[in-house]
C-alpha cells in the first residue's frame, strides 16, 4: 500500500472513477422497466429490477464524492495539480521503467497471454509448460538484464502465435494443431536461448535445471489430476492430450 499523502492523491482519482461509475450505474438503471410493463406484466416501482442497482449506484456516487471531498481536504487543489505535474515528469517515466514496475508488466503479460490467448486455443499441457517456463526464467532466475530480454522474446512469441492461430484453418490442412506445434517449438527455443544466455554461471545453471524440470512436471501433474481423476475436459485438447488419451485408455492397462 502507498504512504498516506500518496494515498490521498490516489483517492482523488479513485473517488472520481467510483463517482463516474456510480453515475453510469444510475443511468443504466433508469433505463430498466420501472412502472411500464415487462414481459406482459404491469410493473410497480417497488418490484422493479431497477430498484436495487439504483440504490447501489446512488451509494457509489455518494461514497465516491465523500472520498473526493476527504482527499481534497487533505491535499488541496495544489495536490491534484502536483499529481498531473508528476504524471508529466521524468520521475514518473523513471517509475514506469523501475525494476518493480517492469516485473509487474512481466506478470501481467504472462497471465493475460495465458488466459486470453493460450488456454482456450492451445493444448493445456503445452500452454502451461510455456507459461511456467517463462515465469520461472523471468522471476526465479532473477536476473534484471534477462527479465526485459525474455519479456521481449515472449512478446514476439505471442504475436507469432496469434498469427499462427489466425491462419490455423489454412495451416491445419498441412499440420494438425498448428498452435500446439508452434508453442512446442517456441518453448524449446525459449529454453535454449535462456540456457545460452546464462552459460558460465553455475549457480544460475542449477536454478535453470530446477525451473526446466518443474515447468514440465507441474503441468503434467496438475493436468493429469484434473483430466483423468476429476474427469474435467481441458479447455482445448490438442497434441499432448490426444497422445495421453491414447496411453490412458489403451487396452494394455486392462
Amino acid at each position: 500500500m502507498m504512504d498516506k499523502e500518496n494515498l490521498r492523491k490516489a483517492d482523488f482519482f479513485s473517488g472520481s472513477l467510483v463517482t463516474l461509475f456510480g453515475i453510469f450505474v444510475v443511468v443504466k438503471s433508469l433505463g430498466m422497466p420501472m412502472k411500464d410493463s415487462w414481459g406482459g406484466v404491469q410493473n410497480v416501482w417497488y418490484v422493479s429490477p431497477a430498484i436495487f442497482p439504483l440504490f447501489v449506484g446512488s451509494m457509489l456516487v455518494l461514497l465516491g464524492s465523500m472520498l473526493i471531498r476527504t482527499a481534497l481536504k487533505t491535499i488541496g487543489s495544489s495536490g491534484v495539480k502536483a499529481v498531473f505535474q508528476y504524471l508529466m515528469s521524468t520521475v514518473f517515466r523513471g517509475f514506469l521503467r523501475s525494476r518493480e514496475t517492469v516485473r509487474f508488466y512481466g506478470i501481467l503479460l504472462l497471465l493475460l497471454s495465458f488466459v486470453f490467448l493460450m488456454v482456450p486455443r492451445v493444448d493445456f499441457f503445452l500452454a502451461a509448460t510455456l507459461f511456467l517456463l517463462a515465469f520461472f526464467c523471468m522471476f526465479y532466475l532473477d536476473r534484471a538484464d534477462l527479465l526485459i530480454r525474455l519479456m521481449l522474446l515472449y512478446c514476439i512469441g505471442m504475436i507469432a502465435l496469434l498469427l499462427v492461430l489466425l491462419l490455423s484453418e489454412r495451416l491445419s490442412a498441412v499440420l494438425q494443431h498448428p498452435g500446439d506445434w508452434f508453442v512446442l517449438v517456441f518453448s524449446v527455443l525459449f529454453a535454449v536461448i535462456v540456457r545460452i544466455r546464462i552459460s558460465g554461471n553455475r549457480e544460475i545453471g542449477k536454478k535453470y535445471t530446477i525451473a526446466l524440470l518443474l515447468a514440465v512436471a507441474a503441468p503434467f501433474l496438475i493436468g493429469i489430476i484434473f483430466k483423468y481423476f476429476l474427469l474435467v475436459p481441458m479447455p482445448y485438447e490438442g497434441l499432448i492430450i490426444e497422445l495421453l488419451d491414447v496411453i490412458w485408455y489403451a487396452e494394455i492397462w486392462g
Partner: protein, 506 residues
C-alpha cells in the same frame, strides 16, 4: 433434547473416524493447509479456493472434511513462518511474529511452536462448542426474520465488514462492499428475469459466478504482489523440542480461554477475519498482563493469545455462515461458495433441509483440531523445510491452479475471462488501500439483499414502515445508522465533547 444432540454429535464423530478414506483426507488436508499457511504468500483462503475445484466431484461431507481441515490447518500454519523467519505466513499470524520471532532468536522456537499448536487446537475445539451450542438459538431466532430483516442483515454485514477491515479510510471499505453488490446485480434479476448490465453478452445472463470471482479476488492480487516485490526469505531458525510442558499449558489456560472467547466473538461478526482476532487478542493479553513490558521481546502469552484467537475465529465464522448464510471471514466466504456448489444453502432453513449438517461441521472442526495437533507435533520439522522453497517457484504453479480451478467449476472458459480482470482490478484496489473482504461479501450477499428488499416492499405495498414496526428490523436499522454515524466527524467531535465534560466534572 440436549442428550440427543450430544449422542448425535458423537455418532457423527465415530462414523467419520471409522472411515479410513475420510481420515486420510482429514490428515492430508490438514497437512496441506499447514503448508499453505506456512508458505509466505499463500493463505488458507487461497487453499480453500483451490481445493474447491478439487473437491467438486466429492460428496458433500467428504468435501467439507477437506475444506474445513485446510481452513483449520492454514490458519494455524501461518505461525511457523511468523515464529521462524519473522514473516507471517498468513495475515492471521501477523501478531504471532511479535513475540514468536524473539522466542526463536532465543533458541525457543520449537517450544513456541509446540505451545501455539496446543493452544490453536484448544481454540478450535472451544469454537466448535460454540458452533454446537449457539447455532440452534440463532437458527430458531433467524426463522422469525422476514424479508426486511434479511435485507438489513445483508446490508449490515457489508457495512460492518467495510468498517472493520479497511486499512485506510472507512469509506473505502464501504465502496468496496458496494462494488461487490454491483457485481451481484449483473445478470437476469431473480424476480422478473430482466437482464441487468449484461451488455448483450449471453454468458452474463446467468449472473457472475461467485467462486471464480473469489479465486480472482484472493488469488491473483496475491500472485502479483508476491512476485512483484519478491520477498527475500531469511533462513529459518532451527527447531529443538516441540512437545510443550503440561505445566506451561495449564499456567496459560486463562489466556487460552479468554483468547478463544475473543476469537469466537470476532469470528462471528460478518466479514472480519482471523487477523483482527489475532491482533485484538494479542492487545488484550498485553493490556491485562502483569508484565506488559515483556511483550514484543519473546513472551509466550503473546503467541498463545494470537494463535488461540485466530483458530477460534474459524468456529466463530461458521456461526453466521451456517445459520444466516453470512460468512464470518474471507475463508468462510470461500467456503460458502463451495457449499453452494455442493447444493447446500446455509441459512435458517439449514436445520430443516440438512438436519445433521451443523453437527457434521462441528464434528469436522473437532477432528481437524485433533489432526492439526498430531500433524503439528509429528511433522513440524518437515513442514519447516517448505519455508526453503523460493516463492517464484510455487507462485506461478498456484497461478495455473487458480486458472484451471476457475475453469473446472462449470467448465466455462468465460469464468477465466472474468476471474483475471477481477483479480487485476482487486490488485489495484488493494494497493490503493481498499479492502477486498467487503467486495467479496457484497458479491455473496448481493442476491440476498436484492431479492429480500423487493419481496419486502411487495408485501408492504411499497411502504418502509415495517422496518420501524418490527423490533428486530428496528434494532438492525439503528445499528446500521449508528455504524454510519460513528464514522462521521460530528459524532467524533460530539464524543470528544462528552468525554471532556465528564473529565472536567470529575
Amino acid at each position: 433434547m440436549l442428550l440427543d444432540r450430544i449422542y448425535a454429535f458423537f455418532e457423527i464423530v465415530a462414523s467419520l473416524t471409522a472411515d479410513p478414506v475420510t481420515l486420510g483426507i482429514l490428515f492430508g488436508s490438514v497437512f496441506l493447509g499447514i503448508m499453505f499457511g506456512a508458505m509466505p504468500g499463500l493463505t488458507s483462503t487461497l487453499g480453500i479456493a483451490l481445493l474447491t475445484a478439487l473437491t467438486y466431484s466429492m460428496d458433500t461431507p467428504m468435501a467439507m472434511v477437506c475444506l474445513l481441515a485446510i481452513y483449520v490447518g492454514g490458519t494455524y500454519g501461518g505461525s511457523y513462518s511468523s515464529i521462524l523467519i519473522n514473516i507471517p505466513g498468513t495475515a492471521a499470524a501477523a501478531a504471532t511474529a511479535m513475540d514468536g520471532y524473539p522466542l526463536a532468536m532465543k533458541g525457543e522456537g520449537g517450544r513456541a511452536i509446540g505451545l501455539t499448536t496446543t493452544s490453536s487446537a484448544i481454540g478450535t475445539a472451544i469454537s466448535m462448542l460454540f458452533v454446537v451450542a449457539i447455532s440452534p438459538i440463532i437458527s430458531s431466532f433467524a426463522l422469525q426474520f422476514t424479508s426486511f430483516e434479511f435485507f438489513l442483515l445483508a446490508f449490515f454485514g457489508i457495512l460492518i465488514s467495510g468498517t472493520l477491515t479497511s486499512p485506510d479510510l472507512v469509506v473505502k471499505g464501504w465502496i468496496s462492499g458496494f462494488l461487490g453488490l454491483f457485481l451481484a446485480c449483473v445478470g437476469r434479476d431473480q424476480l422478473q428475469f430482466y437482464p441487468r448490465f449484461t451488455f448483450g453478452i449471453p454468458e452474463l445472463d446467468g449472473g457472475i459466478e461467485v467462486v471464480p470471482v473469489l479465486i480472482g479476488a484472493f488469488g491473483i492480487p496475491q500472485i502479483i504482489e508476491v512476485l512483484k516485490t519478491q520477498i527475500q526469505i531469511a533462513k529459518a531458525k532451527k527447531l529443538q523440542k516441540i512437545m510443550p510442558e503440561i505445566g506451561t499449558v495449564i499456567r496459560n489456560f486463562p489466556v487460552i480461554i479468554r483468547s478463544a472467547f475473543i476469537g469466537v466473538g470476532i469470528g462471528s461478526v460478518p466479514g472480519i477475519g482471523e487477523d483482527i482476532a489475532g491482533w485484538v487478542s494479542y492487545g488484550t493479553a498485553k493490556n491485562t498482563s502483569k508484565h506488559p513490558e515483556t511483550f514484543g521481546k519473546g513472551e509466550y502469552q503473546g503467541v498463545i493469545a494470537s494463535e488461540t484467537a485466530n483458530n477460534a475465529c474459524v468456529g466463530g465464522a461458521m456461526i453466521p455462515l451456517l445459520n444466516l448464510g453470512i460468512p464470518g471471514s474471507p475463508p468462510a466466504a470461500m467456503l460458502l461458495g463451495a457449499l453452494m456448489l455442493h447444493g447446500v444453502t446455509p441459512g435458517p432453513m439449514i436445520t430443516f433441509e440438512h438436519p445433521t449438517f451443523i453437527m457434521e461441521v462441528a464434528a469436522i472442526l473437532l477432528l481437524s483440531s485433533m489432526a492439526m495437533w498430531v500433524v503439528g507435533m509429528l511433522l513440524a520439522k518437515q513442514v519447516v523445510k517448505v519455508l526453503r522453497i523460493p516463492t517464484p517457484l510455487f507462485m506461478p504453479i498456484i497461478g495455473v491452479l487458480c486458472i484451471i480451478g476457475s475453469y473446472s467449476l462449470g467448465l466455462n472458459i468465460f469464468n477465466l475471462y472474468l476471474m483475471l480482470p477481477v483479480g487485476i482490478i482487486c490488485y489495484f484496489l488493494i494497493s490503493m488501500g481498499y479492502p477486498i473482504a467487503p467486495l467479496v461479501i457484497g458479491v455473496i450477499l448481493g442476491p440476498m439483499a436484492d431479492e429480500n428488499i423487493r419481496r419486502a416492499l411487495m408485501v408492504s405495498q411499497g411502504s418502509f414502515m415495517p422496518i420501524f414496526q418490527r423490533p428486530v428490523s428496528l434494532i438492525l436499522f439503528l445499528i446500521i445508522v449508528f455504524t454510519v454515524l460513528s464514522q462521521t466527524p460530528w459524532y467524533k467531535r460530539g464524543l470528544a465533547k462528552v468525554k471532556n465534560t465528564l473529565f472536567r466534572s470529575n
